[in-house]
């Protein structure tokens, strides 16, 4: 059931307005904080207000204007989009609180908060995009407006990382554009629909090449190997940005784009006949393992997190590439599971850096005694990644394995197991270091991070546990994921 | 074809002059000389267009006592009147530029100017 409603556009518009207000009035600390927090809250309220309807199967639609004859700037909040929107608007609020605390000593705060809000605005735009062109529009805008955040430090290293980031993502964007053009030429429309834009098309050759182009385009941001190179170097950005980049906005925009390609551009039925989808699954499996391997050898905390992200994102892609309902459930749910766990990790890394100045892992010995709450949150997130039951990560792995079995490709279960072991191999040493390896001879005083840093961290950790404990509570992302799967598979 | 061209000697002359002019524009180093070449090109095109209006045994298209047909075609002539004025306008501007360039650089040879840049 489709209902015309202003809320799908209101949500990105709120953040957009926030950008303007921050740029205009942001020189005053109060107003900068006021607008950032106010807009984040307002947006969360707007998004959440659509949730009951979405769970019942209502799709909110809003057509803004026609770009070109036939293709418009349209917004459409279906279950899949809502899922992404709920996750990102929740995390925006939390990250904003964290950023206010974290950015206190930094320069150019107006620019930072302005573009920060703009990023979130475009993320919601991606979530609610009604057609591929609107999606592309926000996808590219996201690229542009994260650039000032990546190079925030303005050091040569940051500039280099920014260049690398732009090179990768813009080439990706070009592929998306080409893919959109070919799609439009083949189907005559770009409106994302349930059976898939191309579901009526035939011809394996062009469809395969088109699929490769679109996967390459969205895969850059989703950091599928070998397109992941930008991500670790973008770690020079301030921590809230890394959190936003790696947990919410950028990488998930890529992953979300891939979900859209698989479910709404091609459609499950069409893809089942294309062998190329299997190769995507193999690539994802390879990325899961290779990303973890590399992560083991990283000593910089944030770089380890980055490679972990590379690995984790491919869970989403693998789940989608399985083309089964369980796989899809895992893929969609992992958007939230990975987001909350990874953002917890980044918050921890940031808090440690701000409070103690430490950025390397070997320096973290005994940190658990100095910052017990922070490290407790870390432990929760780490256990989630490893896939211990009762934590969010387990849910993903469980459904992903079910999906693999459902599709008859049981060897992916082995990939899951191997990944869990690898995750354990690089997360547990930190726990060990933090809690059990106090450096001899130094007195460890309790020196916890400031409340604005600690509170969001703990909040996210709580979410991680909550997501692992309950899968059936309406209003939490998991039920929404199931609604999305029902919608996609027509169940 | 040769015979045909022989009969259309005006057209051939235009092409030859056009090429001579273009040769001058391309190869000559002196700015004034370049522009003389351009003027030759211009007149060649004018000659071509005027030749289009010619009629065998045609008279100037001026009516009045004693005039008798056939008359030449007045349209190409009208066009060329405009063309000539355009040509002289371009020449005036070009030569003004040459004067200024000489004042600034003390030379009007293209290669020496290029070295100064």
């Amino acid at each position: 059931m489709e209902v015309t409603d202003i809320r799908p556009i209101l949500a990105p518009a709120i953040s957009f307005a926030c950008t303007g207000l921050v740029f205009l009035m942001g020189r005053s600390t109060f107003w900068r904080r006021f607008w950032s927090l106010g807009a984040a809250t307002a947006k969360l309220v707007v998004v959440m207000s659509m949730l009951p309807g979405t769970l019942k199967g209502t799709v909110y639609v809003f057509k803004l204007l026609d770009f070109t004859p036939g293709i418009g700037l349209g917004f459409r909040a279906d279950a899949l989009g809502m899922f992404f929107a709920v996750v990102s608007s929740t995390l925006w609020l939390i990250t904003t609180i964290y950023a206010i605390g974290y950015m206190k000593p930094e320069h150019a705060k107006v620019r930072f908060f302005g573009f920060f809000a703009l990023c979130v605005s475009t993320t919601i735009g991606i979530a609610f995009a009604e057609n591929l062109l609107t999606l592309f529009l926000f996808y590219e805008t996201l690229t542009i407006c994260t650039y000032p955040l990546v190079i925030h430090e303005e050091t040569p290293e940051a500039m280099k990382a920014g260049r690398k980031y732009l090179t990768y993502t813009l080439i990706g964007g070009a592929f998306v554009l080409l893919g959109s053009i070919v799609t439009y030429q083949m189907a005559g429309t770009l409106t994302l629909s349930k059976p898939g834009i191309l579901s009526l098309s035939s011809g394996v050759g062009p469809l395969t090449w088109l699929f490769i182009a679109l996967v390459a385009g969205f895969g850059v941001k989703a950091a599928i190997m070998p397109l992941h190179g930008w991500l670790p170097s973008a770690m020079v950005a301030p921590t809230p940005v890394s959190a936003l980049l790696h947990a919410v906005a950028v990488v998930k925009a890529g992953a979300f784009g891939l979900l859209r390609v698989i479910y709404n551009v091609y459609g499950v039925e069409l893809l089942k006949n294309l062998p190329v989808i299997n190769w995507l699954a193999y690539l994802a499996a390879f990325t899961i393992l290779a990303g973890s391997f590399i992560a083991i050898y990283q000593d910089n905390f944030k770089r380890r997190l980055a490679y972990s992200t590379v690995s984790q994102l491919s869970y989403i892609i693998l789940g989608a590439a399985l083309l089964t309902p369980y796989g899809a459930t895992a893929a969609i749910a992992h958007i939230a599971n990975q987001a909350f766990a990874k953002i917890t990790m980044f918050f921890v890394a940031g808090s440690i850096q701000r409070t103690t100045g430490k950025t390397q892992i070997h320096e973290l010995a005994g940190i658990g005694y100095r910052m017990p709450f922070t490290m407790a949150a870390y432990t929760v997130a780490a256990l989630s990644f490893i896939g211990v039951p009762l934590f969010a990560g387990f849910v993903t792995k469980w459904y992903l394995s079910l999906g693999a079995l459902q599709s008859g490709q049981w060897w992916f279960v082995l990939v899951m197991v191997a990944s869990s072991l690898l995750n354990a191999a690089y997360w547990l040493p930190i726990i060990y270091l933090a809690w059990f390896k106090a450096p001899p001879g130094t007195r460890l005083e309790l020196h916890e991070a400031s409340p604005t840093l600690l509170l969001p961290t703990l909040l996210c950790a709580v979410y991680v546990i909550l997501l692992g404990l309950t899968t059936q509570v309406p209003g939490l992302p998991f039920s929404l994921a199931q609604a999305a799967v029902k919608f996609v598979f027509g169940m | 074809m040769i015979v045909h061209l022989w009969q259309n000697i005006d057209y051939v002359a235009s092409v030859v002059l056009f090429c001579i002019g273009l040769y001058c524009v391309i190869t000559k180093n002196n700015l004034i000389k370049k522009f003389i070449g351009l003027n030759i090109m211009e007149t060649s095109v004018f000659a071509f267009i005027v030749a289009l209006g010619v009629v065998d045994g045609g008279d100037a298209p001026i009516m009045g006592a004693g005039a008798r047909a056939p008359f030449t075609n007045p349209i190409p002539q009208a066009l060329i009147l405009t063309g000539i004025v355009v040509a002289v306008s371009t020449t005036a501007l070009a030569l003004s530029l040459v004067i200024r360039i000489y004042q600034h650089c003390g030379t009007i040879e293209a290669d020496e100017l290029r070295e100064m840049e």
């Binding site: - | 040769y23 004034i32 003389i36 003027n39 010619v54 009629v55 060329i80 040509a87 040879e109």
Partner: protein, 80 residues
């Protein structure tokens, strides 16, 4: 007869053009160019285009030549 006269004029025209680009002395080249214009003017008169011929005489052979002369006067006389 008329054909022969035509040929003579056209030949003269081309000869003038070649002479113009071969003359190193800019003043000389300008004068020859002026002669070239006058030949062109004759051809047009012969072709029944007196208006064009008159304009060419006044503008092509007259004004253009004067402008070239002024320029040569203010710059250099010889081409290198």
């Amino acid at each position: 007869m008329s054909q022969a006269f035509d040929l003579l004029l056209v030949g003269l025209l081309i000869a003038c053009a070649i002479a113009v680009i071969r003359t190193k002395d800019l003043l000389g080249a300008t004068i020859i160019f002026s002669a070239y214009s006058l030949v062109m003017c004759l051809i047009w008169l012969h072709r029944g285009a007196p208006d064009v011929a008159m304009t060419e005489a006044a503008v092509g052979a007259g004004v253009t030549t004067v402008l070239f002369l002024v320029t040569i006067g203010r710059t250099v006389r010889r081409e290198r």
